[in-house]
Symmetry: D2
Subunit: 398 residues, 4 copies
Amino acid sequence: MAERVVLAYSGGLDTSVCIGWIAEETGAEVIAVAVDVGQGGEDLDAIRQRALDCGAVEAEVADARQEFADEYCLPAIKANALYQGQYPLVSALSRPVIVKHLVAAAQKHGASTVAHGCTGKGNDQVRFEVGINSLAPGLKCIAPVRDYAMTRDKAIAFAEAKNLPIVTTKKNPYSIDQNVFGRAVETGFLEDIWNAPIEDVYEYTQNPADPREADEVVISFEAGVPVAIDGRKVTVLQAIEELNKRAGAQGIGRLDMVEDRLVGIKSREIYEAPGAIALITAHQALENVTVERELARYKRQVEQRWAELVYDGLWFSPLKRALDGFVNEANQSVSGDIRMVLHGGRAVVNGRASQKSLYDFNLATYDTGDTFDQSLSKGFIEIFGMSSKIAAKRDLQG
Amino acid sequence: MAERVVLAYSGGLDTSVCIGWIAEETGAEVIAVAVDVGQGGEDLDAIRQRALDCGAVEAEVADARQEFADEYCLPAIKANALYQGQYPLVSALSRPVIVKHLVAAAQKHGASTVAHGCTGKGNDQVRFEVGINSLAPGLKCIAPVRDYAMTRDKAIAFAEAKNLPIVTTKKNPYSIDQNVFGRAVETGFLEDIWNAPIEDVYEYTQNPADPREADEVVISFEAGVPVAIDGRKVTVLQAIEELNKRAGAQGIGRLDMVEDRLVGIKSREIYEAPGAIALITAHQALENVTVERELARYKRQVEQRWAELVYDGLWFSPLKRALDGFVNEANQSVSGDIRMVLHGGRAVVNGRASQKSLYDFNLATYDTGDTFDQSLSKGFIEIFGMSSKIAAKRDLQG
Amino acid sequence: MAERVVLAYSGGLDTSVCIGWIAEETGAEVIAVAVDVGQGGEDLDAIRQRALDCGAVEAEVADARQEFADEYCLPAIKANALYQGQYPLVSALSRPVIVKHLVAAAQKHGASTVAHGCTGKGNDQVRFEVGINSLAPGLKCIAPVRDYAMTRDKAIAFAEAKNLPIVTTKKNPYSIDQNVFGRAVETGFLEDIWNAPIEDVYEYTQNPADPREADEVVISFEAGVPVAIDGRKVTVLQAIEELNKRAGAQGIGRLDMVEDRLVGIKSREIYEAPGAIALITAHQALENVTVERELARYKRQVEQRWAELVYDGLWFSPLKRALDGFVNEANQSVSGDIRMVLHGGRAVVNGRASQKSLYDFNLATYDTGDTFDQSLSKGFIEIFGMSSKIAAKRDLQG
Amino acid sequence: MAERVVLAYSGGLDTSVCIGWIAEETGAEVIAVAVDVGQGGEDLDAIRQRALDCGAVEAEVADARQEFADEYCLPAIKANALYQGQYPLVSALSRPVIVKHLVAAAQKHGASTVAHGCTGKGNDQVRFEVGINSLAPGLKCIAPVRDYAMTRDKAIAFAEAKNLPIVTTKKNPYSIDQNVFGRAVETGFLEDIWNAPIEDVYEYTQNPADPREADEVVISFEAGVPVAIDGRKVTVLQAIEELNKRAGAQGIGRLDMVEDRLVGIKSREIYEAPGAIALITAHQALENVTVERELARYKRQVEQRWAELVYDGLWFSPLKRALDGFVNEANQSVSGDIRMVLHGGRAVVNGRASQKSLYDFNLATYDTGDTFDQSLSKGFIEIFGMSSKIAAKRDLQG
């Protein structure tokens, strides 16, 4: 029986060519697996048929949007996950859910190998391969672009030679990865980091400078989970999708950053993530009201490590699981409503309401009803500052 | 010879009344010290005269704006200091410079005590007293509002009874603290955290929703210090002031947050800090280009602790000094230019240029000239993911 | 109906006097509550009777040893909790379990106040009062020694005047707190930190310098819990007690340290914790074998914060709960056997065996059977070091 | 002109064979460089001559012991650097100083490549190559054992065939790396992690179980630097050497651990580091007396990261430099004397004296002279615990 290779299939030129290329390089049968994480574009049946037309012995398609939102985007929202304080991990979050489907297909079809279309200088190769190794340590991984020198030009030549049913136009200037949580764009002219992006690179967001009416939204959370928008119950997927539209229409969630890749280089990236940014902004604001100070301070560090781990492809790692133990416990009381104005590229929180609020009007107010006993402060200050004061006394002596 | 008390004097009703109040409570002579940290308003001579007219035996005024910018705001910029990820420590930064002048005056005039006008439920009392204790462990601290129950109503009555040369209008609805690095506003109706702020509370910033032309600015840094704007050399003070105007005109730097006070309560705060936010945004973007990944990741944690320490009033503490040792070393290569568009409430970086850049076009590009050896990745991925893979193998065995 | 005060009662002079003293100061009825956390000494019935003889309207005694071991000591073992890297939190762990019983008694008997015998300059007052406030925010706390100036001399005079059934010898030179997890000693001559402790201060441990036979022990853990010693099943309490004896007989677990108190001062403390140190040493060694590297590295930081929080009296805080979420997840695979030699003050691990081991002989060995593919290293090293190398290239250019 | 390769030369079989092996594989001229970091054994002249006899075109030897102690061991002492809380980085510290000499020789002799004798599964290959890349990004690195499959058997055959002046006995069962800071041993029978080490593996330390007299020592530090022993001035090198002897004679500094290697596997390691452990123990104890609490707490985290970085071969990295900025500042006041008893495998601190002490007898004592104002505690406790209390109130409501 022939060796079998499961290929992460997108329907595009590169992975369509991969089907035949892998077969030629390895002699194996190729099984194409396409996973819908909300990237849009063609329907799954068309993609499935193209895989078969390109020579796949089997082709599987899966609508993983709900699963992606519930099991991958939601933990990121709970962790306020922003790599380098900015990037909501759009691509990094989608890799593990794709990996899960690839591994399941490999096990179902008895494949020994999983193939993906990544290059050898990005983060995604790491995310795919470390993920696959973690779910099925016995599977091999190959990346034709990296391992078999399958360049763009050779891929086009291959497609034309084999008469593959795929358009082989000149290279699109944009290299794009998109899903329900956002969109990543790389392109040649932005590799000069002094160049500014142009409107043409954006698709999920309108120009924030265009005049338009503001949009006010109320997002409700229960234990860190967005459960309603403007009072209408929503799934996590619906929350992201609705806010992608509404925040995107206001130009919210554009990012232009120089980013530290896991492979040791810095790269210029443009992202759009209107729904992700709106939801994380609201979630953070609700945490400010419902999470106790010391927990909030520590959680910021956990969030940073969580984002680094997921960025670095370690979704299925023991540390990730333990950090989730922390994050889930910390979200127990993150319940309530956040009112936010979406406008001109900004998602501005201006109202919070929560049954779980730790904000106590009577302690905070300077008006009548103040219950804070100010006489306590003298002792607090003296003892709070004592170790510093003793050190100061020592240091002043020379 | 009479005991002497140095009073942190603002020229306003409360501290003007404090002069006589302290004298009556303690029998001490009061020396008023006013420190200009860019709060605007009256000129220092007028303030000085008023202190004397209110009964101070001496009155000193100091223009500390340059010192404040160079020695307090600049370290905050280098540390990208944002408490709770948002608040650029406006008031928290000004307290230690004021403390320094109060202590100097106390030593010059042989005072045994320093007095300040803070209440007993805020952070500033801690910042004043822990700071004073650290610079002069022998000085006593008093706060008439907290310690002698000097309420607003009593202060007005006292001023009128003594015929003090100060306006005793009804309470301004806004409680304001402002300096060159920003402005803080508290007010009764915002103590209901569901209420949105109104335009009336803002002074440093225009409404970001108003239509206007965008403003493009290039900020140059050397070793983390802003040294030029649009090619013109500036001091740190000038940089903050110019960006207060230009970013403020674009509605940048407004904050509306529920904040964790050191005294254990949550409070609603409105801030405006256009210059601070513009400078920190630019500084962060330049760090993304010039700071190595592991240093950048660790620095984020140091920044958080730095901001917490300064917020908590521990400016003059041993840990703050050691963190500065880290932060200064980390800023050695943070030199170059950041181009930023100021518009509609957003300060958006869209260009970076640096002699110290770690961004390597030849490693990053996907075009001709790519020097990244992709064959290295296979080994990297395998070993990078090995500990996770071994754990996965174990865990899959159940 | 009279106010009621629940008193944390030890049976000793101070708290026996507190019964009447509180009654006189407050007019309240006093309910004595004694909690056995393994401190040894008199039996609980005798203590109960003495409380009644001293004037308590009710007296309750509880054997909380099992609960203390399972719910307080065990989490500390899982967290390898050592304050300042040394102190296994002996007293700090016992306070929350005592607090739990005090609060339960207060609620049962309708008391408005809880009293304890701590002074005003130690950690225990904080642990009691913050704990009580966290379990029952409405209860008041009083500490007669601190709040009613009940000095030792006055206590003796009171006992003699009232003819209380308690020995009022001169002050014991040692101030001792002990429980099943260890023993803390303070004493006047050790307040000079140049003085060495003498053998007389120790009770749980023999002199490690005395010649004796070594004792070899095998401790078995399941998911971080000690479950067997030398193959015999044990409860956590039994594990601690047996190792207190065996490790104590070998002089293990003595500590002499200058410690940072929460109230801002440094103090000299002597501890003995033979069982705690033996168990934590074994647990750490088993973690080295069963916990993945990145999780292990992060857990060290979590352990430090956990120990600080518990030391600082924040057992019942939200952050503590969230850290436990992390720690419990991290202990899932900490199962296996540790062989340890107890001798001469040292607990030395020299063997480990685990079904959950991540140590892979075939990867680690340099002999035949080596399965580590060394050709992967070149790529790993190059990419692992790349960000540092790029920075070096920049820095060498000056 | 021929290519030149600088070889890290030890004088032993493997690197002696490397000289000819590299020449044959690459056609290059080989320059042998031996660096004395206190490993003992033959004198440098004999080693130099052997390199030339084995075919090196040049041979350089350097006594780097002083440099190693001052610039590599000392920062580790200041950082209390213990990887996984135990291992004082013996080998990890020596690699960068050797790298420095290799790179200097390569630059002096115009070599294009540096070679070392490491295998492909350890940490040292990473430390050598990342270090070399950081000091001279243009140099290539080769490791004949890893890259040219130079196994032990082949090396012996080569030595015999070429008649090299080197003993080619059967494999020593121990693989040893030693220097002035300690000694590392690996050996086949300890690859079974259930096996205990035997006395035979140790050389720097006597059996701690042997009866002998205790040795009391006073170590004096200035700003974190050990400057005197028992009142005699010493260099850092002398301090380490003397304590190696005295602590080694008492069986101090033996470690038996399962360690997380950078290459992703766990390995069993035996170390001896009597001087290092004695010095770090003393340094920590002096920090407990002289470093303010919050700085001490933060420094523990910095220490952990410092040790990980150095273990991972990132000595010459930007983060290492910035952490040193912190560590050096934190050591400013670490001056004073530590008295320590060395006996039976234990280095026990029992006395501290310091002009820079933060221990204040008058604040700490419970006897006459107590200056701690206990009335301050009530306010401190209330406000310190307030955020936790407010959260408790919320959580109790369900």
